[in-house]
């Protein structure tokens, strides 16, 4: 499974590809897995998340929209955290592929496991 949390941390690692973020989903098959919300973890992860990239991806997948910016005090904004949890932790991409926006390298996803192997000339 590829959660959007993981996807947000992922960039293309082909040699000489400098701007491979965020990876674009192609023919994604989406599944929702309910999970218990861990607010503290979400708040801790917030500074590491690229908000614009997350919004673009959510938009691309046709999921409910996220607010334009992170609220000033996210730890106390229950509704915001719930929406964030749904998007980051509960959305799973089961199959399809991820494409680098710069070098167009395709990372196929099979059974929820992305294949990140590169060929020798890409290392």
């Amino acid at each position: 499974m590829v959660r959007l949390l993981t996807h947000n941390m992922l960039q293309c690692h082909v040699k000489n590809c400098t701007n491979g973020f965020p990876l674009r989903f192609q023919d994604p098959v989406i599944e929702q897995h309910e999970q218990e919300i861990n607010k503290e973890f979400l708040v801790n992860m917030l500074p590491r998340i690229d908000w614009n990239a997350l919004r673009t991806t959510v938009d691309q997948l046709g999921l409910p929209e996220l607010p334009a910016a992170v609220p000033e005090n996210p730890a106390e904004d229950e509704a915001f955290l719930a929406a964030l949890h749904r998007a980051l932790m509960e959305v799973n991409i089961q199959s399809g592929s991820m494409v680098c926006p710069e070098c167009e390298h395709v990372y196929p996803i099979r059974d929820g496991i992305p294949n990140m192997l590169l060929s020798e000339d890409e290392v």
Binding site: Q11, C12, H13, F41, R48, L117
Partner: protein, 284 residues
């Protein structure tokens, strides 16, 4: 001791059979869990906080289960598809990636609070393909790992070094990538219980240089739970010497064989009696 990395590259060695072994053999499971707990201890993560960890060479997710149990979120990478399939079947909590760690990681800078790896990095010292250069692969591995860790995070690798040269090769690649730290050896005086950990720090924590943790010492039975080695074979031999070994061709075996022959029906088979399968006296 046989070394699997001499047999075949990891993606071939860890096939379906080997993957199944890893999930059904309770000894392997216990050893993996113990090593993971020790690695977590060496990571020294802040208490009562969910951390975001990377499991390098996660295999069938045995160490990942320990991480989930301890309340951490994790991502696992492995090169063997068969092992990942098993992990998938077991419905582990972490996200899985099929990745060759020698090709480096594609994670954004500062992603992880820590990284663990159980019995993996010795594989990187082998050149399985003509185009593989162990030095370059180690450099790329540690380089990309260093950037993907948050400042002050630690990475702990348990591994089985083949010789001193390997240890030196791995540590020098890690230090060149910017890590500090070094080797921690548990139970250095015991051949069986000795475990080697490479404990690396990605920068300072709270503005202080991190000190290398102490390795465990003492009796080799010190490892909690007490699995050290397989002694079944040794026991077998000992019992032969004492003449206690159970005969293979016992009464049950003989009766079974006779029954088979009767069903076949091409020979006359003696009737069963109270003497069937009985031992003759020495004075016969």
């Amino acid at each position: 001791m046989s070394r699997p990395e001499h047999t075949a590259p990891p993606e071939i060695f860890y096939n379906d059979i080997e993957a199944e072994k890893y999930t059904q053999n309770t000894r392997i499971i216990n050893v993996q869990a113990q090593l993971t707990y020790r690695a977590l201890e060496l990571l020294a993560l802040p208490d009562d906080k969910t951390s975001f960890l990377l499991d390098i060479g996660c295999g069938s997710g045995l160490s990942g289960e320990v991480l989930s149990e301890e309340g951490h979120e994790w991502i696992g990478v492995d090169i063997a598809p068969a092992m990942l399939d098993v992990a998938n079947e077991r419905e582990v909590d972490g996200d899985l990636f099929l990745q060759d760690i020698g090709q480096g990681f594609g994670f954004r800078p500062g992603t992880f609070d820590g990284a663990i790896s159980i019995s993996v990095i010795q594989w990187l010292c082998n050149a399985d393909k003509k185009c593989n250069n162990p030095y370059r692969r180690l450099a790329r591995f540690f380089g990309t790992l260093y950037t993907s860790l948050a400042r002050g995070a630690r990475a702990v690798f348990q591994f089985y070094p083949e010789n001193d040269h390997q240890v030196q090769m791995i540590t020098s690649a890690a230090l060149k990538a910017g890590f500090t730290g070094g080797i921690v050896v548990d139970y250095p005086n015991s051949a069986k219980a000795r475990k080697t950990f490479l404990c690396l720090f990605a920068g300072q924590r709270d503005g202080q240089t991190q000190a290398l943790p102490q390795g465990l010492s003492g009796e080799e039975g010190g490892m909690a739970g007490g699995i050290q080695f397989e002694s079944r074979r040794v026991d077998d031999r000992a019992s032969v010497r004492k003449g206690k070994r159970k005969g293979i061709k016992d009464k049950e075996w003989i009766q079974n064989k006779k029954e088979q022959m009767r069903k076949k029906g091409d020979k006359k088979v003696a009737n069963d009696s109270k003497f069937t399968g009985r031992k003759r006296r020495p004075k016969f």
